[in-house]
């Protein structure tokens, strides 16, 4: 981690409140879970058995149900994605963009892992 990032994180931490939603171990490698965060349903995905975690809205706008955390994690080209468990559209984990319909953009959340804790902020 570079000095700049550390600085930014420190600033963020000072400006915003980061909340622990679960432990890293609660998310099995290459799967997702759903967390309740400030009244919203957030899907958290862990890449492999690393501490890389992504957070996007849990609501599948095409299936109209709160299910995205239960999709399969994978890649399309260079992009990390989740496939909706209902009708299999792909959502970019980093940007929330739907690959099949770029007008559809899911809300993304800032996420970090500190000492095995998963935090949203």
């Amino acid at each position: 981690m570079t000095l700049l990032n550390t600085l930014n994180n420190a600033q963020e931490q000072s400006q915003d409140k980061w909340n622990t939603v679960c432990l890293l171990d609660d998310i099995a490698p290459d799967t997702g879970v759903c967390a309740l965060y400030q009244g919203e349903q957030v899907a958290l995905f862990r890449i492999g058995d690393s501490d890389q975690v992504f957070a996007i809205s849990n609501y599948d706008p095409l299936g109209e149900a709160n299910v995205l955390s239960r999709g399969i994690v994978g890649s399309v080209g260079e992009r990390l994605v989740v496939a909706s468990p209902l009708y299999k559209q792909h959502y970019d984990l980093a940007t929330g963009e739907c690959l099949e319909d770029s007008d559809l953009l899911l809300k993304t959340y800032r996420v970090r892992v500190v000492e095995q804790q998963v935090l949203l902020g």
Binding site: V21, P29, T31, C34, I47, V67, R70, L80
Partner: protein
């Protein structure tokens, strides 16, 4: 303009083909199609008639149904023979006295079996072989006979002998000529065919002229031959050739040939221009064509002529120019083919003969005087070269290289000499049953067909006798290559392999995790296609708990929570109810649980009970109760064995011959948990009434008095397919062994999400090949397949029981990882006493209502 009325007399294969041609043509709305048949049923496949004795039913043989005809607007009358034609009034009259007018009349009356005028031929148990009714009579006679004789050693006679043998009789064939199939085969071919048939237990008597049929001493009858010898038998089947059914034409003044047959011109018109004759009743250029392909060709020509003369008034585009009588078939399991001038009658012709007494193969080529053109061929014992040789002859092509190479067996390492399909002209007819040319196939490929299944759907090629399937595939592949289509069977962007290839890799390398497979043979991160596929293959071979840490990320929508996700994200629960048998106590438990959790309850098509609307956190609670009551997971969520449906069978049913319920339960318990390329459904029926509908299943088992008949690769659903009869009269042990092998071979070789029906359609060599692998053990892998299945059976676990014993795994079964709340998005309404998800409109009303109340 009123519709033109076409009356078709006779609803056999050719009459039906004519109707189908007009009914599916672009001018179909211009015609009213009316047909009469003296038989009690609509058209059926007479070519496959002997299959009636190996378990096929009349429905299996049917070429159409009353529903199909009604949908096509075809008016049909069965059991009513047309007995008079008035060509001035243009009307016909039937036996029941109905009178109908026509614009065009088509005679498709077929032929009748010729019975030689032998004294004693009209007694009971002296029968012919032509219709399903004849077969019923043969069946009834065989039941009270021990010995049967077929008079006639031609193509149909040998078919009939097969039928008698299958009916369990000691079978004899009596032939007037010095050899079998004298029309199609030469001396050498006829001799080998005789030897092979006699090896199968059918006794052949040649050069026998039957003088009379009298009362026998050992058997019911004695046949006395002109040479003084005799043969005793309980029944006699005459199959001494056919005669055109031209009685109607004879009575009402149409021109006939000297030896019968309704004379037609190149457009299939008789001497009355508004009356056509097609099929075996028609005589063209003084020839009767006793095969189905020329009959279909006449149907096509006459239909085109009727359209042009009544509707378009253009010059007719098609004409009948005679037909090639080459034929290839399997007689009593022996491959026999005859092409063109099989006897070498052409002046100056020469021949090549290959004769292998050990392997029992005989091949003879007839070539032109200069050795460049193929004129004819005879193949007995092995007929793979048929397609190639036929094309060489039909297209008058130069023989590539040394003609002898065409019939010599391939030496190791060298491919046998074939015919590059590229050399064939566009007009080359590849499928003679449905007259599909190379050009038609190429057009279909250009239109998007890229599998055998697509091609069959689009062109019908290879859906008749199937003899051309290898050639069709070659033409298709060549065309795909010509179009620059790289046939890409890659599973997805992460793996440049098919599912079958990945399965081989995993098996040979002994991989146990997705990570190993991806690292060794893939790229990227995987996806929702390759992950479940590899997960399924790993499960098929190793059968580990699918929610293990290294497998959980591979599981598809339903497997990952061991339930079936519904549209609102809740799950349905289907406990296993093997064979559909359930105790009242267990039913009560299901009822209590459903009531307590307010689960929508429905009976499934597979004889079990589906409970809908359980939320994630409720799944373990519900399964705790189900497992305690003795239920197991039903794998309704998996690409795996679903159910083995059964009828009640011999334990209760008045008609049942075997205990279908016990067999269904045994099969379901054996194969439960087997992960496969797609879901698998079974059924077991306790008698041939088939109440369990086994012929629409991947694996169907039907009880007979002599054991189980096994059907494979059927399907209901989106693309229904009748299962193929695979093996008959099996005992319990052989049945299970055979199913083990078929299923494991399917698991190893099928594509992703390929049901057994499509797998079969795309399997090169089809049913025969599957039989060679599974029954004859051609690949030497049967014991390996059985071992693999034994491993799966012995490592079975109820996934829900295992999950309940793992508190770590249960943590995932809640909607929020950090809260106990439910998903607030779920809204239901009640209908017929149960709940269901609210529709979009209902949701708006419900939300408004609750905000008003708040």
């Amino acid at each position: 303009m009123s519709k033109k009325r076409i009356i078709v007399v006779g609803n056999g294969m050719v009459g039906h083909n004519f109707i189908n041609t007009l009914a599916t043509s672009e001018n179909s709305s211009e015609f009213e199609l009316v047909t009469f048949s003296e038989e009690p049923r609509l058209a059926y496949d007479r070519v496959q008639l002997s299959k009636y004795f190996s378990g096929y039913t009349a429905a299996d043989l049917a070429l159409t149904t009353a529903d199909d005809y009604e949908r096509q607007g075809v008016v049909f009358t069965l059991n009513d023979k047309v007995v008079a034609i008035n060509s001035h009034e243009k009307t016909i009259t039937t036996a029941s006295g109905r009178k109908e007018g026509y614009d065009k009349l088509v005679l498709a009356t077929g032929s009748y079996p010729f019975v030689p005028p032998i004294p004693g031929k009209d007694q009971d148990h002296c029968l012919v072989y032509r219709t399903i009714e004849d077969l019923e009579a043969i069946s009834a006679s065989a039941a009270v006979s021990k010995t049967g004789v077929v008079v006639g050693g031609g193509l149909l006679g040998l078919e009939a002998a097969n039928a008698l043998k299958q009916a369990g009789l000691e079978t004899h064939v009596v032939e007037f000529a010095p050899r079998l199939m004298a029309v199609q085969l030469d001396e050498g071919g006829g001799q080998l065919l005789r030897r092979k048939i006699e090896d199968l237990g059918v006794t052949v008597h040649t050069e026998k002229n039957t003088k009379e049929i009298v009362v026998g001493q050992e058997c019911r009858y004695r046949m006395n031959f002109a040479d003084g010898s005799f043969l005793e038998t309980d029944m006699i089947l005459f199959s001494a050739g056919i005669r055109p059914q031209d009685e109607l034409a004879r009575q009402f003044g149409l021109d006939l040939g000297e030896r019968g047959g309704i004379v037609i011109n190149d457009y299939c018109q008789t001497s009355d221009e508004d009356i056509y004759a097609i099929g075996e009743c028609a005589l063209w250029d003084n020839k009767i064509f006793g095969l189905v392909a020329p009959g279909y060709q006449m149907a096509k020509v006459s239909a085109a002529h009727i359209v042009s003369s009544l509707i378009t008034h253009e010059e007719p585009a098609l004409a009948f120019k005679g037909a090639d009588m080459s034929t290839k078939l399997k007689l009593l399991g022996v491959d026999v083919a005859s092409i063109g001038d099989a006897h070498g009658h052409t002046a100056g012709s020469q021949s090549y003969v290959f004769n292998d007494d050990i392997a029992e193969v005989y091949k003879r080529l007839i070539v032109s005087a200069d050795g460049k053109k193929l004129l004819g061929a005879v193949l007995v014992g092995e007929a793979e070269a048929y397609g190639t040789l036929l094309q060489l002859m039909l297209n008058d092509m130069d023989i590539p290289g040394n003609p002898a190479a065409l019939i010599l067996p391939a030496v190791d390492g060298e491919a046998s000499v074939g015919l590059g399909v590229a050399a064939l002209p566009e007009t080359a007819q590849i499928c003679s049953c449905f007259d599909v040319t190379k050009g038609d196939l190429a057009a279909a490929v250009q239109g998007g067909c890229c599998t055998m299944g697509d091609i069959k759907d689009a062109t019908k090629a290879s859906t008749g006798c199937g003899g051309c399937s290898a050639l069709v595939k070659q033409v298709m592949d060549a065309e795909l290559v010509a179009l620059g289509v790289e046939v890409n069977n890659n599973l997805c962007e992460h793996f440049a392999y098919t599912r079958a290839e990945l399965a081989d890799i995993i098996r040979v390398k002994g991989y146990t995790t997705f990570a190993q497979v991806l690292q060794g043979h893939g790229k990227g991160h995987g996806c929702e296609i390759c992950k479940p596929t590899v997960g399924s293959v790993l499960a098929s071979f190793h059968n580990e708990y699918i929610l293990k840490d290294e497998h959980i990320g591979l599981q598809d929508t339903n497997d990952i929570f061991l339930g079936n996700m519904q549209k609102d994200g809740t799950y349905s629960i289907v406990p296993r109810i093997a064979g559909g048998e359930i105790t009242p106590d267990k039913l009560i438990v299901l009822g209590e649980i459903a009531k307590e959790y307010d689960l929508y309850t429905k009976i499934t098509g597979g004889q079990r009970i589906d409970l809908f609307g359980a939320q994630l956190h409720e799944l373990p609670q519900i399964w705790e109760r189900l497992v305690a009551a003795g239920f197991e997971t039903g794998h309704a969520y998996g690409k795996s064995l679903r159910t083995v449906k059964s009828c009640v069978g011999s334990t209760w049913c008045r008609y049942g011959v075997l205990d279908s319920v016990s067999m269904a339960i045994a099969l379901e318990n054996r194969y439960k948990g087997l992960r496969a390329p797609h879901k698998i459904k079974f059924a077991v029926s306790g008698c041939t009434r088939e109440c369990a509908e086994a012929q629409s299943k991947d694996i169907g088992v039907i009880a007979t008095e002599k054991g189980w008949n096994l059907y494979v690769c059927g399907n209901g659903g989106m693309r229904p397919r009748h299962a193929d009869l695979f093996a008959t009269e099996l005992d319990d042990e052989t049945l299970i062994k055979t199913i083990d092998r078929v299923l494991m071979f399917y698991v190893r070789t099928a594509d992703r999400l390929q049901r057994t029906s499509v797998w079969m359609e795309n399997l090169e060599g089809g049913l025969d090949y599957l039989r060679e692998v599974v029954v004859d053990d051609k690949l030497g892998i049967c014991s390996e397949l059985e071992d693999a299945m034994t491993r799966v059976v012995s490592t079975y676990q109820c996934e829900w029981k295992t999950t309940l014993e793992n508190p770590e795994k249960l943590k995932r079964f809640q909607h929020f990882i950090n809260a106990d709340e439910d998903d607030s998005n779920l809204l239901y309404v009640r209908e017929r006493g149960q709940r269901r998800p609210a529709t979009a409109t209902e949701r708006i009303e419900l939300v408004n209502l609750s905000s008003v109340q708040n």
